[in-house]
């Protein structure tokens, strides 16, 4: 594996290998000294064209725990803000000897373009409304850790699927790993081209093993995707009443950041059924596994 651009690039054995290595990495993160020498002398650049807290910090922690040198390059206040093109930035990073570039970009496909212009590995850390493959991997890891398997589970992905890179990557990866995925939301936000769709959250949640809530950006409200925030919450928000109608073993996920009170109530977010904090923890292990495989491990 040279790059990680799309969750669709991973077949089941490749995805499972990442999850297995992530489990080993998790053991390291549990130690007092959370560091491996694997990527000593290698340079990882975090190239972030969009504000991001958890993903950037997660990649930074992952690279540092593998002893890589980390350069954080954020678009704000950099040559990019002065109008430098992605290609010129790529050449600059190339000239500095970046072994891997972790890129977050508002334009879908930007990591694919970057991969043409750098010799090192490119990791997609979220591109526009396209994909966020490491998020899908950490979600798959979290599901496997909680439920013991992925194959055969029913996963409901609920909310603004149309604009969600998390949903796109999860659809691809979870289906590859044998899960049944149902996309749930208002018809304006759930494209039928991405697979099985339902507009009735209450119907779907009755037999869902995993309910993955997506962040709904408040800006969507002004764009006629749905009438009001309150109506959205009533129809597609996850509250205590809906949680109690889910099967007893079912878990609740959210990629964060949450709009508490919008797509998820605090009662649900803070319940023991919620995996939200574990997802963040698992993110570091999964990203360690990805960096390890792309840079240090088997090719």
């Amino acid at each position: 594996m040279k790059h990680l651009l799309s969750a669709g690039d991973l077949d089941a054995p490749a995805a499972t290998e990442i999850l297995d290595i992530a489990a080993e990495m998790a053991a390291v993160s549990g130690r007092e000294i959370k560091k491996l020498p694997t990527l000593r002398g290698r340079t990882v650049v975090n190239l972030f064209y969009e504000d991001s807290t958890r993903t950037r910090i997660s990649f930074e922690a992952a690279a540092k725990r593998l002893s890589a040198d980390v350069i954080n390059f954020s678009a704000k206040g950099s040559s990019v803000a002065k109008g430098e093109s992605l290609k010129d930035t790529a050449w600059t990073l190339q000239a500095m000897g970046a072994d891997a570039v972790v890129i977050r970009h508002p334009a879908s496909g930007a990591p694919h373009r970057l991969a043409n212009w750098v010799a090192g590995s490119v990791l997609n850390a979220g591109d526009g409304t396209h994909e966020h493959p490491t998020q899908a991997l950490l979600d798959a890891y979290t599901i496997r850790a909680r439920m013991g398997r992925i194959d055969g589970l029913h996963v409901a992905i609920v909310g603004d699927v149309l604009h969600s890179r998390v949903a796109r990557s999860n659809c691809l990866l979870l289906r590859t790993l044998g899960a049944k995925v149902t996309l749930v939301g208002p018809p304006t936000l759930v494209p039928v081209e991405l697979g099985e769709v339902s507009y009735d959250f209450d119907e779907v949640l009755k037999d869902a093993d995993v309910v993955m809530m997506l962040r709904v950006q408040r800006e969507r409200m002004n764009d006629s995707y749905f009438p009001t925030e309150r109506e959205y919450s009533r129809r597609y928000g996850l509250d205590g009443a809906r949680l109690r109608r889910m099967p007893g073993h079912a878990i609740v996920m959210h990629p964060g950041p949450m709009n508490r009170g919008m797509e998820i109530t605090p009662e649900v977010a803070d319940s023991p059924r919620s995996t939200i904090v574990e997802q963040v923890t698992n993110g570091v292990s999964v990203r360690m596994a990805c960096l390890y495989l792309l840079l240090g491990g088997k090719s």
């Binding site: 930007a110 396209h130 890179r165 796109r168």
Partner: protein
């Protein structure tokens, strides 16, 4: 076959001052492109009237209609005359300027259409191409107004509210790639409105770059009802589909976008049965930096002049009658230009070797820009010679200026 010329005009054998033996090549009346972006004035780094004229002559064209979205916009007699004069100076093809419909392409008020019509450039086609004349009242007025000088409005049919932020055809591929969709209905709804407006005011309408099966059907019905509508399709919409966007290479980004196989089939059928009157290139050169970037930031458009004939040959085979009509006679008729191989017509023609095949190499194209979507493809048919009013503009595949 032999072609006889005197004083730049096709004549009979007895009157010939010059005789050209076509030696097994296929003679076509000079091709006419109704939709060309020459970029001058304003973006001479992407194309000039001269370099675009070279590309046109090499593609077998003897006339091109230069779109109005230059900088400054061709919305006054001054700018259209400048483009016209540059075309004459280049002297490789007749450059017939298209005038803007609205001042500055802003869609707010009519440009001085009559002044452009009366200018030395004798403008008859008006278009805000790149922008849709969206306001229905303004569109109605434009259609009506140009009747005074037998003008035609060439509409870029795109409902702007339905295409905000649009990057590619709305469908399964756009959903997979996370690129904002450009729905077919955004084109079809404007065409449906415009044919009704044209019928209402009894005016001529030309529809630019038709790209969907639904549009073909609307135009077919309008023609059956006797509405005076003509339509064009680009070579790329006859060949390429939206799956090309999968590479995120903006060389495939174009407006309207590449669509589905079903649309391509309907467009081919529409061109065959005459629902779509002509092939027009929408030749749209772009500087390297406007294509070597993220898909969403790239400008839409592709080169077309040097490959159009080969693409049409590739798609339809050696149907020379179809090619002659859809690429020369019909576009000339719409533009009010002259084309044909009959005695008495200007000796503007092109000679094509149908058995030759050639490989498209962007850097070898005469256009200043490289944004061809056909790079690396091997295509049938090669333009060997092109003549403009008896003067060779291309000889043995080499442009003469």
């Amino acid at each position: 076959m032999k072609i006889y010329i005197r004083d730049g005009v096709l004549v009979s054998k007895e009157d010939a001052a010059q005789t050209i033996d076509t030696e097994g090549l296929v003679a076509l009346p000079g091709l006419v492109d109704l939709h060309t972006h020459l970029r001058e004035p304003g973006r001479e780094d992407a194309e000039t009237v001269l370099t675009g004229s070279r590309a046109a002559a090499l593609g077998g064209y003897t006339a091109v209609c230069a779109m109005a979205n230059t900088s400054p916009v061709a919305d006054t007699a001054g700018v259209v005359e400048q483009v016209y004069r540059l075309g004459q100076e280049a002297g490789l093809v007749d450059v017939q300027p298209i005038g803007a419909v609205t001042a500055g392409l802003r869609g707010e008020r009519l440009a001085e259409l009559g002044a452009m019509a009366d200018s030395a450039a004798r403008v008859r086609i008006f278009s805000d191409d790149g922008h849709c004349v969206y306001d229905p009242r303004l569109m109605r007025r434009a259609l009506e107004y140009v009747k005074a000088f037998d003008g035609v409005i060439a509409q870029h049919a795109e409902e702007p509210r339905l295409t905000e932020g649009a990057q590619m055809h709305e469908g399964d591929v756009s959903q997979k790639l996370g690129l904002t969709g450009w729905p077919a209905v955004a084109e079809e709804s404007i065409i449906a409105r415009d044919v009704l407006l044209a019928a209402h005011v009894g005016a001529r309408l030309h529809v630019c770059h038709v790209s969907t099966a639904g549009s073909v059907e609307i135009i077919r019905q309008a023609k059956q009802r006797g509405i005076r509508v003509t339509a064009e399709v680009t070579p790329h919409h006859l060949l390429l589909t939206h799956e090309r966007a999968g590479s995120y290479d903006p060389v495939y980004k174009v407006n309207p976008p590449l669509r589905t196989t079903r649309d391509v089939e309907a467009l081919r059928e529409g061109l065959r049965d005459g629902t779509i009157d002509i092939v027009a290139t929408d030749h749209a050169p772009h500087a390297m930096e406007d294509k070597e970037c993220e898909w969403a930031y790239a400008r839409p458009g592709m080169l077309g002049l040097e490959t159009a004939l080969s693409i049409v040959l590739d798609v339809f085979g050696e149907d020379w009658e179809l090619i002659k009509d859809r690429m020369s006679l019909a576009p000339a008729r719409i533009a009010g230009l002259t084309a044909g191989l009959e005695v008495g017509k200007p000796a503007s023609f092109t000679l094509v070797d149908p058995s030759a095949r050639w490989s498209v190499t962007p850097s070898e194209l005469a256009s200043l820009s490289n944004n061809t979507p056909y790079a690396g493809m091997t295509l049938p048919g090669r333009v060997v010679h092109t003549y403009l009013r008896g003067v060779p503009t291309v000889l043995d595949g080499k442009v003469q200026k």
